[in-house]
């Protein structure tokens, strides 16, 4: 009998106990795989702090059951291309886009998705594209400036 569930996370196969099938992907990533860059802000799909890429598309990992993404390629902030993260983080620092930083990993994942160009939405205004990512600290202006510079 199957006792493990194999996920593809950040480019590598990762085994998790079968009991995680019915748990939120967010919990599996954080508690079982120790990927603490994925944050929980609300657990209800409202804040975007838990955003990961599922087969290249951004989704809220708090709203996905682990079993559902068994066959998918899952990417967390830890799995984003190093060159992208270096550039993203430098620009964030330069523009003052990070205060407490709790929202930032989710925004990084969204930005990486746009950067990879896998979407036709690329030329939509940032304020629309990122409307699912809440930030309580910055008032968004400097994040928008940083994301604009990143483009």
């Amino acid at each position: 009998m199957k006792t493990q569930l194999t996920l593809r996370v950040n480019g590598a196969p990762r085994d998790v106990p079968l009991s995680f099938v019915g748990r939120r992907l967010l919990d599996t990533l954080r508690l079982e795989l120790g990927l603490m860059g994925v944050k929980e802000g609300c657990g209800e799909g409202d804040c975007g702090a838990c955003t990961v890429l599922i087969d290249g598309e951004p989704m809220c990992s708090c709203l996905l059951l682990t079993g559902v993404v068994e066959k998918c390629e899952i990417t967390t902030i830890e799995g984003l291309p190093a060159a992208f993260l270096t550039r993203f983080s430098a620009i964030c620092a330069e523009y003052g886009a990070v205060q407490c930083g709790y929202c930032t990993p989710g925004i990084a994942v969204m930005a990486a998705w746009l950067h990879a160009g896998g979407t036709e939405l690329g030329d939509q205004p940032i304020s629309k594209l990122f409307a699912g990512n809440l930030c309580r600290c910055t008032g968004y202006q400097q994040i928008i400036e940083a994301l604009t510079a990143l483009r």
Partner: protein, 739 residues
């Protein structure tokens, strides 16, 4: 004006910000290891009820449930800072969601089943979820306060009678502000690690040293010791202080002898979190015909919720602080703080001033209109200036208030020029102005002292460690301290490690509140750098280096010859000319004061009542700007929190005291789509007392916002908004009744 002297630090050295953007920051919940025991609580479904009986047996029979704590386990312990009245687990529930019984379990499923299995019987008591109801409720929430009034304040200054006689025009109004949750993105999380008899409390708070001091006394009774570890903090804005979850986790950890953790789901974080104090403010302001502001009277009722914490201090601040903006001749303020069966209130960015500014700055606007004077000009004529001692005893050092007013006037005029009023049947445009002031720290906060300490310690690996009990809650403190020390000692920022809020190593700190950290901590960092440099030149001579050897060289040599322990220094800052305020808040409570003036342009949709803020200008006197991007970040962030407070955010409570909107979907904090362009202007003020001439900027930007928007709405539509939030429905109604 708006000329900025070179910032101390360039963005390049913003190392903590870079780490955070890479997802490397570790908040309390990220530090929980697999196998940690999980803690949860059973919450009261009633707004006011006595707990009659608790049966924990069915919970304890569930496999995986390890222990249960009841109110009896915490008899005699009351929490809250500075006012203590909150039980850890309660025998009398005073708000819906208050913790009654706590459960520890080995896994999440058992935990939930355990909580479910508890039998708790309540005797429901009459409740009051508004100040008016609480004042007439014949059931005191706390036995010691039979009329539910926690505290009364009276502040009378100047010769009221004489002033009154000079008044030719009075304006008055009654204003109502709402409770809003802080809504920081990181829900409250607590981890306790057990290390023999040492309990390590890992949690984000404004004041780790004070937490440790308070809890040590309690755990000493259990024969345990305690230290606080401060992880990254995902926002707080005045919410994260003492909290029952801390002691619940400490007690379980001690009893079970293993690590325990409790992370609140967002819903619980809002239900059992904290909110801004809702206030009802009756105010009148009198002026002479030629526009001299003479007298101001305030009568204020504040909703304390179920427990006090900073409620009394916030109430007093709301009653008097905004008075200091203008040169009134006489003031008369009365305030009452009232217990209700609402979520406990807590200080929140602005410390009561956003509430009173909403009243005062609208009345100033009305006065201007009545007297036929431009609202900015009226403020300028009466503005407090450098060198003034205000009626409340503030000794104003540097003051760029009029510069702020000049700056926004210029911007607004230019904007009006570029956008001539258009006649439109659906949209109305209008401009508004409002001002604010804030002290830096508050000598009255802790009666013992107001000071900051910061140590520089050379670690054996050659890293220079900055250690302080002042913490960072997202304002950039880590990078700021790092930059100050790096600049002073001419060291690479990469050679500096910053450790804030780990009580086992850092010197005592009062913490991060009242916009004091950059100012107090910054001064202590400068002092520590001076002393460290001195220690370096002494050591240089001893080990045969030239007396003028660079700090880096001395450090390297000290590491090589094993004399690192000799290189350490503790800097301190304790302002001299501040005074402990009296009961009525009189005193020079802060070493420096900040000022600001805002303006905005709004567009009102008269069909739906929706307010759109088209443009926003925020001018601040924050002394010399230390880091332009960081300062802008505080302003833009504060303005947006203010806009949420002004237009959307609220706590909706039903007749039974149940919160109807415990989540981001229904408590509408600003999203990317709501972002408003904010133009930040900083005056050229230099504050002698501040670190490198700086003052502070964390709280000031939220203070004028609601009033500024209300004044713009009036300018656009002719209606006066007396109630927050100014939702489309309220605006629509006022258009159809007054407009």
């Amino acid at each position: 004006m708006s000329e900025i002297q070179p910032p101390v630090q360039g963005p390049v050295s913003a190392t903590r910000a870079t780490e955070r953007a890479r997802g490397l920051a570790r908040y309390a919940a990220d530090l929980i290891l697999p196998g940690t025991v999980l803690v949860g609580v059973a919450r009261s479904p009633h707004a006011h009820a006595r707990v009659i009986s608790i049966d924990t047996k069915p919970a304890l029979e569930i496999p995986g449930v390890l222990a249960v704590l009841t109110p009896a386990d915490f008899d005699g312990i009351e929490l809250g800072h500075p006012d203590t009245d909150e039980p850890v687990l309660t025998r009398v529930a005073r708000y819906v969601g208050e913790a009654v019984v706590a459960v520890a379990a080995s896994d999440q499923d058992s935990l939930l089943r355990g909580i479910e299995a508890l039998h708790i019987d309540y005797q429901v008591l009459p409740h009051a979820c508004s100040v008016a109801d609480a004042l007439t409720l014949d059931q005191p929430l706390h036995a010691a306060y039979p009329d539910n009034v926690v505290r009364r304040f009276n502040a009378k200054r100047g010769d009221w009678q004489a002033a009154e006689q000079r008044v030719s025009t009075w304006v008055s109004g009654t204003f109502q502000t709402q409770a809003v949750p802080h809504a920081y993105l990181e829900p409250r999380a607590t981890l306790v690690r057990v290390n023999g008899e040492l309990l390590e409390l890992v949690t984000g708070s404004h004041f780790p040293s004070v937490l440790a001091e308070t809890y040590r006394e309690i755990v000493a009774g259990w024969g345990a010791q305690l230290e606080v570890v401060t992880p990254d903090i995902g926002g707080s804005f005045g919410a994260k202080w003492e909290h029952p979850t801390h002691l619940i986790c400490l007690a379980f950890a001690h009893r079970l002898g293993c690590d325990v953790a409790m992370v609140l789901p967002r819903r619980d974080d809002m239900i059992a979190g904290r909110t801004r104090l809702a206030m009802r403010i009756q105010m009148r302001i009198g002026a002479t015909d030629d526009g001299e502001l003479v007298a101001k009277e305030t009568v204020l009722w504040a909703d304390n919720g179920a427990y006090s914490a900073h409620g009394p201090a916030v109430t007093l601040a709301a009653a008097i602080r905004m008075d200091n903006l203008y040169r009134f001749s006489a003031l008369n303020a009365k305030a009452q703080l009232v217990y209700t069966n609402n979520i406990p209130s807590e200080c929140f960015r602005g410390f009561g001033s956003p509430q009173s500014a909403f009243a005062q700055e609208q009345l100033i606007d009305e006065l201007a209109e009545r007297l036929g004077i431009d609202p900015i000009e009226l403020r300028r004529r009466n503005a407090v200036r450098a060198g003034d001692t205000t009626l409340h005893g503030w000794q104003v050092g540097s003051c760029g208030f009029t510069e702020c007013l000049d700056a926004i006037q210029q911007r607004v005029q230019a904007h009006q020029h570029e956008n001539p009023p258009s006649i439109n049947s659906r949209y109305r445009f209008g401009y508004g102005v409002a001002a604010g002031t804030h002290g830096i720290s508050n000598r009255g906060y802790d009666r013992r002292f107001d000071r900051a300490l910061l140590s520089l310690v050379l670690a054996p690996d050659g890293m220079l460690c900055i250690e302080s009990g002042e913490v960072e809650i997202g304002c950039g403190t880590v990078d700021l301290f790092g930059a100050i020390v790096a600049e002073r000692l001419k060291l690479d920022r990469e050679r500096i490690r910053v450790v804030l809020g780990d009580t086992a190593t850092v010197p005592y700190g009062l913490g991060c509140f009242a916009s004091r950290t950059a100012f107090f901590g910054g001064r202590a960092a400068l002092d520590a750098s001076r002393q460290f440099a001195r220690a370096c030149s002494h050591l240089a001579i001893e080990i045969g280096l030239p007396a003028k050897a660079s700090i880096a060289t001395v450090i390297d040599t000290a590491v090589a010859v094993g004399r690192t322990t000799e290189l350490r220094a503790t800097g301190r800052y304790e302002p001299k000319h501040v005074t402990l305020p009296d009961e009525s808040g009189y005193g020079n409570t802060s070493p420096a004061y900040t000022f600001g003036a805002h303006a905005c342009c709004v567009r009102i949709d008269i069909v739906t009542g929706l307010t759109n803020v088209v443009h926003y200008w925020a001018a601040h006197d924050t002394g010399r700007v230390l880091n332009l991007q960081r300062a802008r970040g505080q302003v833009v962030g504060g303005v947006h929190q203010g806009l949420g407070f002004a237009l959307a955010e609220t706590t909706l409570v039903d007749n039974h005291g149940r919160l109807q909107n415990p989540g981001y979907l229904d408590d509408r904090v600003a999203t990317f789509a709501d972002a408003v362009p904010v133009e930040c202007i900083f005056t050229s003020t230099f504050e002698q007392e501040g670190p490198n001439g700086a003052k502070s900027i964390a709280e000031p930007p939220i203070i004028p916002v609601a009033a500024c928007v209300a004044n713009a709405i009036h300018n656009a539509t002719g209606t006066r908004q007396r109630r927050l939030p100014m939702t489309p429905e309220r605006i629509w109604r006022s258009l159809h009744t007054e407009g």
